[in-house]
């Protein structure tokens, strides 16, 4: 019987008007892990039902974008990388960027897009951004399969020399990018409950952000000076460069850039969860 009393006590919920500044409550999120998974599954089911090509769209979209990037930025503008197959470079960069940007924009509307559900029932709100990030990771993984096919082809031809030892870092880099995107996304979503303008602004800003990140050009193309410093300060730069360094054997990895990026990511996530916690309690009254 002692267990039961303990269980009953753990189910005690106290609601008060006072709020703590930072509550993570990961235990509660973990109890709702099935919900996170179902949300993730739903995002795939709902997107691809009643489409002719179905999940093939996950391939088609990045393939076409990478081809266009390769022609416009690589061939016409001459921004492409040296010593690496151009198409592979753009497949890789484009995959990374669309992963990051979907983490930002997917989470930027967490509150407004889910207002109908949030307004009727309680569950840890953090499950929504986590499941958004999870589906972005899965999409990225599927795109990477296609990139891997291309990679194997070039590898057999000896056109690419990856740094195999750095591959161990790849999962961390993916998680890092995802967390950064989620952090920015939930900050924006918390603010959008009050200022709707931000929802419009963010999709536009993310587009511009891509040009401030070495996506359509490698970092090596940038000459020194203020521009290079600005791009190096961008927290997305270091993980993208590190990813390509490992995967393609191309790019420069600056330790100070990585440290800065990790610090900024942590700040974004902590601040994001703080403001998210604040908003989730009462956003139904203002949304």
């Amino acid at each position: 019987m002692a267990d039961k009393t303990a269980a009953e006590q753990s189910r005690h919920i106290h609601i008060s008007s006072k709020r703590k500044l930072f509550t993570l409550n990961l235990g509660e999120v973990w109890r709702y892990r099935d919900l996170i998974w179902l949300f993730t599954k739903r995002s795939f089911t709902v997107t691809y039902k009643q489409t002719v090509l179905g999940p093939a769209w996950i391939f088609i979209n990045p393939l076409l974008t990478s081809l266009v990037f390769s022609v416009i930025f690589g061939d016409i503008a001459g921004l492409g990388p040296e010593g690496v197959p151009q198409l592979l470079f753009y497949m890789c960069s484009n995959g990374l960027w669309s992963y990051f940007s979907s983490c930002v924009t997917g989470n930027a509307t967490t509150f407004t897009a889910n207002a109908a559900v949030f307004g009727k029932v309680y569950f840890p709100r953090l499950t929504t951004p986590i499941s958004n990030m999870l589906s972005a990771i899965i999409r990225f993984g599927i795109q990477m399969l296609l990139t891997a096919c291309l990679f194997v082809y070039y590898l057999a031809n000896g056109a690419v020399t990856p740094h195999w030892w750095a591959w161990a870092l790849l999962p961390i880099v993916v998680l890092h990018l995802g967390l950064l995107g989620m952090g920015v996304g939930i900050i924006v979503s918390s603010l959008t409950t009050k200022y709707r303008d931000l929802a419009v602004l963010i999709s536009f800003c993310v587009q511009l952000w891509m040009y401030a990140t070495p996506i359509v050009y490698p970092m090596a193309q940038i000459e020194g000076g203020a521009l290079k410093t600005a791009i190096a300060l961008n927290p997305v730069t270091a993980p993208v460069e590190l990813f390509r360094y490992a995967f393609l054997g191309q790019g420069t990895v600056a330790v100070e850039g990585l440290v800065l990026s990790v610090v900024l990511t942590l700040l974004c996530v902590i601040f994001g969860i703080m403001i998210f916690n604040r908003v989730e309690k009462t956003f139904m009254d203002t949304v």
Binding site: I13, T45, K120
Partner: protein
């Protein structure tokens, strides 16, 4: 039972909930910065507006104004009150959809809230997939849902369609499935907002029985809000009446219902003030119904056959159109009894404030307790009636038959309408 040994399920202490009136935030960063700058310099906020009224201070409104309540384990508590009394706000706080402005709430046990059936249902997904998703949103794990899947499908009566996307469902099937999920949760506390008003009569009864069993046999705590007094009577063993954000009565269900049915702004129910009543669904209040009083009466009991004489105070916000009036009359268990229309339309001028005299005959209304919804309507270009104001509840009244030798009316068999007598005679 002695309260000291009963286990507490819900304890609410001094809870208040404040809402801002008017457009909130409005999405304008500029105004917010302006207000902030004014406050920073210690000046008056240029964007604040002063209102009046006891519940309305500045631009805020107290939806709940000091609630204290203790609910014990195994109790089925009914919550009744007019529109805008704060019932739904209280349920929202208990379901943790929004947080109180002041005060504390302690919940002992897992809480399931059914403020709506089928929260999170997605039309593209099949019935079965939606059961999983909805169950998980309500706090079940996948294993729990797996073990109850068969029971849920049986209860919902939609087994044949369980693997069809729910967008192909009829609305009845949809709510049946949704309710079945909620009804099979293993939670200690269940919070429901009129969700039983779904499906056909047989299904409603099934739901009600299920809820009653949950409270009486399984010892769960049920909180139930409804305007249907019959379901409250059937389900609840204790009832609170809310009025203007406060609990005005707590105790016996029958007493609570009779208090609510006789509740006007004055004790005897002959005067009503509508200025504070929310008007959901009224697009433009072109003619505002402001108050109502019964003329020449000390209470709201009418002798059958008498004419109920009313004065309705109105203000015209946008005039020039022909405006008609109607009362929709409901019985105390929420059944629609009938509607009475005004014999002619009236025309008002912009900004006009006046009183309308209404004479409502009661010959055909069977003895009983009634609630009326008042509507003012105009005709649109397609010739349809569009209402320009709607007040619910507009008034409560009792009809009694005081004629000598009058028979007792049995509404459960005879309904609420007493038609004129038919003539019978023997033919030669």
């Amino acid at each position: 039972m002695d309260n000291s040994i009963r286990k507490v399920a819900i304890k609410i202490e001094g809870v208040k909930k404040k809402y801002k009136l008017g457009q909130i935030g409005g999405g304008s960063l500029q105004k917010d910065l302006q207000s902030w700058w004014a406050r920073f310099r210690g000046k008056e906020d240029p964007n604040s507006r002063l209102g009046e009224g006891e519940r309305i201070k500045g631009q805020t409104f107290m939806a709940l104004n000091g609630i204290d309540l203790t609910v014990y384990k195994g109790e089925a508590l009914g919550i009744i009150g007019g529109n805008g009394a704060g019932k739904s706000t209280l349920l929202k706080l208990l379901s943790r959809v929004t947080a109180p402005t002041e005060g504390t709430i302690d919940l002992y046990g897992r809480v399931t809230s059914m403020l709506e059936v089928g929260t999170g249902f997605s039309g593209e997904m099949t019935g079965r997939e939606n059961v999983y998703l909805n169950g998980a949103i309500l706090g079940m794990t996948k294993a729990e849902i797996d073990s109850k899947m068969e029971q849920i499908i049986d209860f919902s009566e939609v087994r044949d369609f369980i693997d069809t996307p729910v967008k192909r469902y009829s609305s009845g099937m949809y709510v049946k499935l949704a309710f079945s999920v909620a009804a099979h949760l293993d939670s200690e506390i269940m919070i429901m907002d009129e969700v039983l008003a779904v499906g056909d009569m047989a299904f409603q009864k099934k739901c009600l029985d299920k809820m009653r069993d949950a409270a009486r046999k399984e010892g769960r705590t049920v909180l139930y809000v409804s305007h249907n007094m019959n379901t409250i009577r059937n389900l609840c063993d204790r009832c609170i009446v809310m009025h203007k954000g406060k609990i005005v009565y707590d105790g016996d269900t029958e007493k609570a219902i009779s208090l609510y049915m006789n509740q006007g702004n004055s004790g005897s129910g002959v005067c009503y003030d509508y200025t504070d009543i929310k008007r959901p669904g009224v697009a433009s209040m072109r003619l505002e119904l402001r108050n109502l009083r019964m003329v020449g009466r000390l209470n709201n009991t009418v002798s059958k056959g008498d004419t109920l004489e009313l004065l309705i105070g109105c203000r015209c916000n946008s005039g020039g159109n022909k405006t008609g009036f109607r009362f929709e009359i409901r019985s105390d268990n929420g059944d629609m009894v009938g509607t009475v229309f005004s014999d002619k339309s009236l025309v008002f001028a912009d900004g006009e404030e006046c009183e309308i005299r209404v004479k409502l005959p009661t010959d055909n209304i069977a003895p009983g307790r009634y609630m009326a919804v008042a509507l003012a309507y105009e005709y649109n270009s397609a010739g349809q009636q569009v209402y320009v104001d709607r007040v619910e509840p507009a008034m409560f009244f009792n009809v009694v038959n005081e004629k000598e030798g009058a028979m007792a009316w049995l509404p459960q068999y005879w309904g609420h309408v007493h038609f004129d007598d038919m003539t019978v005679e023997k033919t030669d």
